[in-house]
Symmetry: D3
Subunit: 243 residues, 6 copies
């Protein structure tokens, strides 16, 4: 973690406020620990569809759910060392209006990401994920357009990485990057622990990370790789080494 | 090219003696230029199916075709800075008997490759390519087995990269690595030039490399990337950086 | 048909008023005959795009087309023993506005389906089918959300079955359930017969059912299986028996 | 080019004003040269996303970009011998409102195309292409509906051909038609030359056409086939000859 | 059928002696009726796996089964107007030894086919079909090799068409050619009728042809197209017309 | 487990002696507990490629490895309540000669399985798995042939279920059956515990089963489902209920 390295910019475009923690918390913490600027664009709080724990409390209302979800996500982001921006666009279904889209484009132009993270393209369990994926690709495209807000500066050809959905095979997810997150797993664990609304998931994702770690070792990772996260790249990698 | 770097081992398993030049010559030269040990396992000379130029000369016979093909491949390998071993297993069709397979396993154990290069899995134009692909995967598997020749040392979980077939879309080839071979393209050009039997292909592959170079730039490569080669990995990459 | 059995709830979300008859009439009649509550959500009458017979009559107008299509679909539903609800959202193209979507969500919450039936995801011949498919998945997702209309009760993880499109291979349809509808085929035949607007299709679908029946027998069905319908499940089946 | 032949109608539905030149200019010129009515429905000028050359000139503004792009496209269309209609719906993102859609439907009913050309269904680099593809399929479907504008005459089951995207494998493009455009390549070249905004692409597309030409010869085309364009059909071909 | 036309050469490589009748009888008869040379390479009699009717007769033995199967296939071939050659390589499983393969290569060189017909690549119900497919591709490749039997003349880049398997979707079969066989269907019917061993299939394949005919009309075929057969091409078509 | 039920026959065709335990131990124990006849056809001991623990002991030799592997597998089979037959065909690579194949065919005819279990079709990590898969499909086909050993009785259209490979997404595995093995997980655990050669895998597969259990509940399984195994069916299911 001490290597000299040009800081990079990482942006995650996610549907619900828990997604960045469970699905890519290790990756985000890893970049943050290396000095990268890491920003999460959180399109909704998951207030309707992913807050069962809160809604089962008596007398719950929408504003409270959103507030708690926001607080938890902020605490998780702090644990990971990343910034999170809430767009509050609603969930189940998530909808991205033209103005929202332009805000995201502006955020991309400001962040100038080296890497974008988002959901898979087709998740039959949860079409909000598809909406977030399409939003990431579409805003990336607009941010690249020289004639969009010509006073600004277009971004380049940012790679897009899809993180792992809950039932990967059903979503057509085929990982081509197993990322070692062992050095920062304590931060991911801590971030998961503050997500009380979905507390039962901590063991589940710890075990999943361990499984991806075993697979990483089976694909040649050194023995010290214990926790890994899986990603699928949308675009070919450009390289100068045969790896 | 001057960075300090642990030398690596690269092995290509190819069906016919020209394949390593046209399809992966840049990649092989790049590794060689960096000090890697690069070895080509050439399963046949392509003497029956890929030597039209030679066969159209009057009085040609099989031994002469093989000899010329071997000499050309050796000259091309020299131009690229790599070693080539000829297995002379016949082509159209290529067949790999048990003993041949065990020779390749022994070669893999000796070379201990960090990366294996080979053909795609399904090329309806040329089933010898499928045979070479299956041979690469099968010998890799055997070389990993502790109980195969227990006196030897098993190899690890070597990544396998498929190089580009002639009609990629028909063969289900989806590149996920665009490799910058600009710094060594002069060597690939020189290697192609000694392959007189298929001399008409030089312009074709120079243009193809330029096209892959444009695509690399469209995917974020710097402007200096002019020549690229495309590869598809069989296994997920293990990484410690979000790229 | 006489086994003791907890009644189930079946909902079909279909684009045009004929779809439930031709594509799933046997399945719906089978469930109805066993005492299940079967409800068809018919998003349009197919008044513009699937009523050629009516439009070729002189002096035809839209209201008459819709009325005839409704009457026929009601008669077909009666023949099958199922309930049909017309949403009248227009066809060619079908569009589902937010309010319509919420009506369907409410209907799902009321029906609490054990199984949802709908079209394939991608039918290049007819994008209304894609719209119906996406509507089924999206409304299912919303109906599952605890925070959507919190006074109501969310539905569970309902299986979704896609019925057979007209040109299955072009639509990427791969059946994984061949349903024996022999015991109720007379009802399907009767339902098809009242669909005068597309009367030429009766023989076609009778033959198709026979073909799926032969395939069912080739996959192990007993000799008495004569008429079958093909379905593709979206989600894995949960089972307690190795079948 | 002198055979007696019933003139046909060809319509291309394209996202940006340059697409018809680079991706299908040969095909369009070939039909035009044979006396077919060839019409390009150009949904936007590519004014924001595909006019880098213009925007890098000082003092550029949107109206000028559009004007120049229109003039260039008109000149290119003239060089190819085809008609181009500009819909000016905006790009990056392209959006097709209901009224625009109906204009296209009317144009299809007027043109009564034997063949529709458009983009691939899924291009992660450029979602405007997906929008154009979906627009082509959707307007084709509506134009077929007898109840849409019943005073008009529905079109038949027009074949849809997708032209080649920039990075075909990443877009799931698998060509099943390699079209010989050698006889009209001079017209395509001329059309490309008037597209000054993207002038650097001329060599690129000339080389690409040559590569597709080599592949055509490898698939049995006669030696005179030098320039080819690649297409993928959406629907099965109906034929009366085993080809 | 009276057009002036250069006669072509058609070769079908099939696993069992009934396959050419049920799956491609119309296509073969159509070519034959136009004066093409049509030859069926029948790798086995289907004597073990596709002769249930014969085996259920008391006292049946292998030689009798083969003889009856041969006689039926010869009668069917006569009805279609095509030539059939029996290779008698055994079935369930079919195995193609090196010498058999070379006989087929010699036959291809003699026939010089414009089109090859064969089974799909992957049929989980019947691996003999896969073997026939691989044999067709492999012998085609060898027959193209200039250095194989250099005294002979290599064949060109023959197109390969896969005919329809029994359960197309399960075999990954996606038809891209719907061939009108209406003009010769009486010959196919007659050929099917002489195949007494599998007589129950006549109605089945008549209905299947009618269904493919309806699909052909839905894809633009004229109303007179009643019987069609479905094929999937392995290689791209080379064309000079936008169809 | 006390329901009255016709006993069934289950056969697993596996490459190495540990596979039936790790990948399908729950499914096999579940059937056995219900009174089904469950038989494992174990093609090799995994003596070369899957016995690292044994080979790392000093002085180890092949016979000892095989003996220990056999004893462990027998103990595991006993724990599961199933029968295991060892074919000792060698591993890394596994090869199935004609005589071996016929032995398996005879075993299938004797067992008359209702369900066959085996590996996936394409596992690039381990081609022995592909060989076992192809062997299962091929022997099933031969066992169905009336003319194979006509004195015997052919089997019917047995369903084939593929069990989960180590890296499912890389092997194209898409589960469509999540089987509840909670009631017998103690037996699977016990069976895993006797497999000392690969003892480190027990926690891994316990966690994997828990993950599949969570997914089962997300797909509608009742809360009591804790341990599940994932399977993918090769053929469509024939059913008489809409599930």
């Amino acid at each position: 973690m001490t290597e000299s390295r040009t800081p990079r910019s990482i942006v995650a475009v996610t549907a619900h406020s828990g997604d960045f923690v469970w699905r890519a918390g290790g990756a985000l913490a890893l970049s943050a620990a290396r000095g990268d600027a890491v920003r999460v664009i959180c399109l909704s709080f998951g207030e309707r569809g992913e807050s069962q724990g809160l809604w089962s409390r008596p007398g719950m209302d929408m504003e409270t759910v959103k507030r708690v979800r926001r607080e938890e996500a902020e605490a998780a982001a702090a644990a990971l060392g990343v910034r999170v921006d809430f767009y509050d666009l609603g969930d189940y279904p998530l909808t991205v209006a033209d103005g929202d889209r332009d805000r995201i484009v502006a955020a991309l132009r400001e962040a100038r990401p080296d890497v974008l993270l988002t959901h898979v393209a087709n998740d039959p369990y949860n079409l909000d994920h598809d909406t977030a994926h399409a939003t990431a690709l579409r805003t990336r495209m607009i941010a690249q357009a020289m004639g969009h807000d010509p006073a600004g500066t277009p971004i380049g050809a940012t790679q897009v990485l899809m993180f792992e959905p809950h039932q990967p095979e059903v979503c057509g997810f085929t990982p081509n990057l197993l990322l070692d997150v062992t050095p920062v797993f304590d931060r991911k664990r801590k971030a998961m622990e503050v997500m009380s609304a979905q507390g039962h998931l901590i063991e589940y994702y710890t075990e999943l990370g361990r499984r991806r770690g075993v697979q990483a070792r089976r694909n040649g990772a050194p023995a010290g790789v214990v926790q890994a996260e899986a990603f699928q790249r949308v675009f070919p990698v450009v390289g100068d080494e045969l790896i």
